[in-house]
Symmetry: C2
Subunit: 651 residues, 2 copies
């Protein structure tokens, strides 16, 4: 069942990249293989990474001069499409071209680009992004690896001081990587200048570790078996001076340090900010996997029947059960919503990263915040939804041949890599509290608590999508909620906004109160309200997502299903937070119950359209790699009908 | 940190079985091995199953005459302990002794017991429990496999009519099983008598399939790699008459059918009811795995530090963050609660299955209902909590060497096997609506809707634990809630009760209204309120669990931590359902906010006791099989302290 208007809406701005991927990656060659061993998977992925089409491809983000297309948005969408095919393939590609190649582009200068980019793009030079350490994952500003300059030899001394400072979970390290971008504390002239990055060879031509480099294997993982994660330690490894990726900080031959950004913290988070694309890719990839899972579960629920009912000739299709709709259709509506929000985010990333002239720091911070928030929202939604889909297939969902175990296991790590979700939401909240003035991309634990508490801004709500449309809708809502239709879009927007505003105001009040009381432990000022502050961030992300959906509905007025899905998303979120709304008297008890009834009514209206709603994701059949859906068409149905007659109880 | 009173409370009635298992299963011999291949895992588990100590053991449930101990409660607890060690081992043992052996005991008669039980107990005769079919998992009353009696040959003809009727997901089938208890529609004299079970050889002495039997392999699964799940099809296989397990239905040589239970449906669900133990084991095993996961995450959160704070010498331990406590400590409190409820359930099972005299049908139905509800509650809690623990370890939680991937993957199927959780909750609700009069153990889709709607009883709330104590506590609560302390246990009980009662009353009203309107599709009468009805079941289970916790607090008055954990459980559940309580004016907005503040206050009070609270599960270190916890004691801490000094910023 094809609904091209829906598909166009969901494909969004880079629809051409999606469509090209569906065509170019056709054939079983690239499709995920369930039940592989670690070695089989690593071997296959290492091979395929060199066979990927390049246009469109993840490498589209590279500068035109080196063979790229200067299309950062397109590269993100290309990565999402790879994720829908095989998550190991996406992560391996993301490590090579996104993290490793991306760091060389963003943190290096012409000499590095000239020397390495072509080989990186062609995958002749495989590399790693070595930031995380065993002891420091979230708090990367405090990495323990050191890199000290010695003017006598004009080299750096890269060193891992102890085991917990080793680089860990590093993709491409255990098997394929020949170089690594290594993050370490730069020391020169007896002073530390914070974390910088160096290009460091880790294996020689024969694949043996370079002198002083110890390489370990992280071994079997929950998923992503095709990605060779490993550990790197450095024992006073000599790194030539010119291997410092020196766009944001230079060391002269005599050891003199210079940088366009004076403050160490600000410099480091500016460097990190250039790498925001990875986080956007992970969020989008999580949603790509969610779409595959929902396609499988909903198509299965359409043919799978269980339990008869009086007066029914056939057993009931799973999709006809309200409980099933409550699980899958609401998750589908949220997936639509997140798709539109992600499309907008990719657009914002594209504008920022292709803008001429000096960087707009405010827009950059806002982009980082939105990338963080949507990464958290999409990856948690993926984890929950894929689990739901697994359960919706019963025992069949537990078999590798039906794909869901792979989708679940592969995406699981997304909630904690490229930034732990809880830490990311804290970053979002910090941006909201300070108006991005001092947020950097810092993931710190609210270190300077009193400082932040004093700086918290007066709440100003910034709209992200279709500002004037949304303002018009909100303004059109009459004063008293009880009079407003439950499906009034302006009312939905106002409810989401109200929640964000009120939560933010409350957090500001509580932080100020805490700071003025000056408790002994400054840490407690923030920790006492951490749950509240995280809720601020969630409410903010919810609002951004709804605004994106509303803007999409406005762009496709000819498609009534889109409007209904938007209603379902908005109302099921309001229902999910009805505790808050009732507590703050934004819903009366009667209206709260009416919301639940309206959600059920929408489910009944949308149920007949389920196949077309999920079909609009346009995931190619073979990409689903699901045995239960490969049965001859109609076979199950024919058998069931035949069977109900043949075995009707004789008693 | 040992707290023996807490451990005693959690170990419960079969503490001696738990302690014996901890001692007998010491040594690395039985411990889970992360990262095995399918073949390695199957080989290891097949070997270990024959090396398990038998006293205490799962086989304790068998009759004394055949070498068992007639201790069904002890056998369940022994299974839980195996689950804590290795879930594949538990499931393999559960298939052999619980499902296969259990069916021979419960559905067979002396001739079967004499011929097979000793070999089953010794594992010399490995067997399968072949009920589920590819096309029918939940609706087992409508299995399609047929077994028709032919008086001329005095044999049955066992037949799989088409592919979707093959037996699927059958443990022990793919590799080790030599016989199977096969469930099929019994046909004799041209009439069907519903589902019965036969003992059928599936492999010969050399391990080759018997004539007419086709054996398939379900292949790689999400987890439980050590269990050889497979598929069985029968092509007109001749089964001798005496292989019918004929306790509940006999076929004479001439084909005459007789049974002590006339109604086919009632007979089948009576047969199923005797197999309730499997469901109790799965629920308990899910909690056993949850305890391992929480032990790992909480011990890790005690030593793992991230982010500094002003005025703090060292970085902050993860367990000190409110967000971390919100995730792990509330899950820990619920795990305590479920442990006490499971202990009571095992006690009830033990009483019913060791009772002399005729079966008490009401108690049997109540047992089945409670087993269903607690299985659903414990397995969903396990899935959610183990996921939370995985995330709490960040990247380390994704590595097989840290155990959480295995715990997650192995327990995942528990939410849908031994009864799909949603279907089980429907069964619970049906029991509540009809007062067990017509509930059987039927998992049907509310087939006879109008019938049930007319029969729904007047609501009578039956207490499960410590009836008089609980009534006293509830009665002591003054009339107006606002005057009652938030930690008043009677108030907690009344809130849980109120929710169950009100939801049940509402469901009854809505069902009656739906039935009186007589819509065209009777299916809709129930389907329209399915979400409401499932909520009734959840609320009921919540209440049963709280009552079990309250009774445990009363048994261990000397342990104040237990009372605080009970408060935390009760209040965090009330908080989780605050939407309902506010909607139904059981909470004022002000009191609802106070509940959240009280939960946070309890977290702060309990936080210093986290190690001892989780230590009370007494999971042996080596059973955890977690590399991150095997580091030399204190090493991380020493390094971190040293390091904070050594690398204090120079700028």
């Amino acid at each position: 069942m094809s609904n091209f208007a829906l598909r166009d809406a969901l494909d969004g701005r880079w629809a051409h990249v999606r469509q090209a991927a569906r065509e170019q990656l056709a054939g079983s060659h690239f499709v995920a293989v369930p039940g592989e061993t670690l070695e089989q998977s690593r071997e296959r992925i290492s091979r395929l990474i060199r066979e990927l089409p390049t246009d469109p491809g993840i490498a589209a983000g590279f500068p035109i001069a080196y063979g790229g297309k200067a299309d950062p948005g397109g590269s993100v969408v290309a990565a999402e499409m790879l994720a829908q095919l095989d998550l190991s393939l996406m992560v391996k590609a993301g490590v090579q071209w996104g993290l490793f190649g991306g760091a060389v582009v963003a943190l290096g200068t012409a000499k590095h680009h000239d020397a390495y980019l072509r080989d990186i793009i062609s995958a002749d030079l495989m590399g790693c992004f070595a930031m995380t350490e065993t002891g420091h994952g979230s708090d990367v500003q405090n990495l323990r690896t050191t890199c000290a300059y010695d003017p006598r030899t004009q080299t750096f001394d890269l060193h891992t001081p102890y085991e917990a400072a080793r680089k860990d979970y590093i993709g491409n390290a255990a098997r394929d990587g020949r170089m690594a971008v290594v993050f370490a504390q730069l020391i020169t002239g007896g002073r530390r200048y914070g974390v910088h990055a160096w290009l460091v060879p880790i294996r020689d031509e024969d694949g043996n570790p370079m002198p002083g480099v110890t390489i370990g294997d992280d071994g079997p993982k929950a998923g992503l078996l095709g990605v060779d994660n490993g550990r790197l330690s450095f024992d006073h490894v000599r790194v030539p001076r010119e291997m410092l990726l020196d766009r944001y900080g230079q060391v002269a031959p005599d050891g003199t340090y210079s940088s366009p950004i004076e403050n160490d913290t600000r410099r480091f988070f500016t460097m990190l900010g250039t790498l925001v694309r990875g986080r956007v890719v992970v969020g989008g990839s999580a949603s790509a996997a969610t779409k595959s899972a929902l396609t499988i579960a909903i198509r299965y629920g359409e043919v799978r029947r269980q339990f008869g009912a009086p007066g029914e000739e056939r057993e009931i299709a799973l999709n006809d059960y309200l409980a099933h709709q409550r699980k899958l259709l609401t998750a589908l509506a949220k997936t639509y919503a997140l798709t539109f929000a992600q499309d907008e985010l990719v657009g914002a990333l594209h504008e920022v990263q292709t803008a001429e002239g000096p960087a707009d720091e405010h827009r950059q911070r806002e982009l980082e915040s939105r990338a963080a928030g949507l990464k958290a929202a999409q990856t948690w939604h993926a984890t929950r939804t894929i689990q739901t889909c697994r359960e919706a297939l019963g025992g069949a969902g537990y078999l590798a041949e039906n794909r869901l175990p792979g989708l679940k296991a592969d995406t699981d790590v997304f909630t904690t890599f490229e930034g732990d979700n809880t830490v990311l939401l804290q970053l979002v909240a910090k941006g909201l509290l300070t108006g991005y003035r001092d947020a950097f991309g810092s993931l710190d634990g609210w270190g300077r608590a009193t400082f932040v508490a004093e700086q918290v801004r007066e709440m100003v709500l910034e709209r992200t999508a279709a500002r004037s449309l949304i303002q018009r809708l909100v303004d059109a809502v009459p004063g008293r909620d009880e009079e407003v239709a439950l499906t009034d879009r302006g009312w939905h927007l106002r409810m989401f906004e109200d929640r964000e505003k009120h939560l933010l105001d409350g957090a500001i009040r509580r932080l100020r109160r805490g700071a003025s009381r000056k408790p002994e432990r400054q840490f407690d000022i923030f920790n006492d309200v951490q749950d509240h502050v995280l809720e601020v961030a969630s409410a903010h992300v919810d609002r951004v997502v709804l605004e994106a959906f509303v803007a999409a509905v406005d762009r496709f007025p000819e498609e009534p299903l889109l409007a209904k899905m938007c209603d379902l998303y908005a109302l099921s979120e309001i229902e999910a937070h009805k505790g808050w709304y009732l507590e703050h008297q934004r819903l009366t008890p009667a209206r709260s119950k009416a919301v639940t009834a309206q959600v059920n009514a929408l489910l009944a209206q949308l149920r007949p359209h389920l196949p077309e709603l999920v079909g609009a994701f346009a995931v190619p059949d073979e990409w689903l790699a699901c045995a239960a859906l490969r049965e001859e068409p109609g076979r199950q149905e024919v058998m069931a009908a035949h069977d109900d007659q043949a075995l009707a109880p004789a008693s």
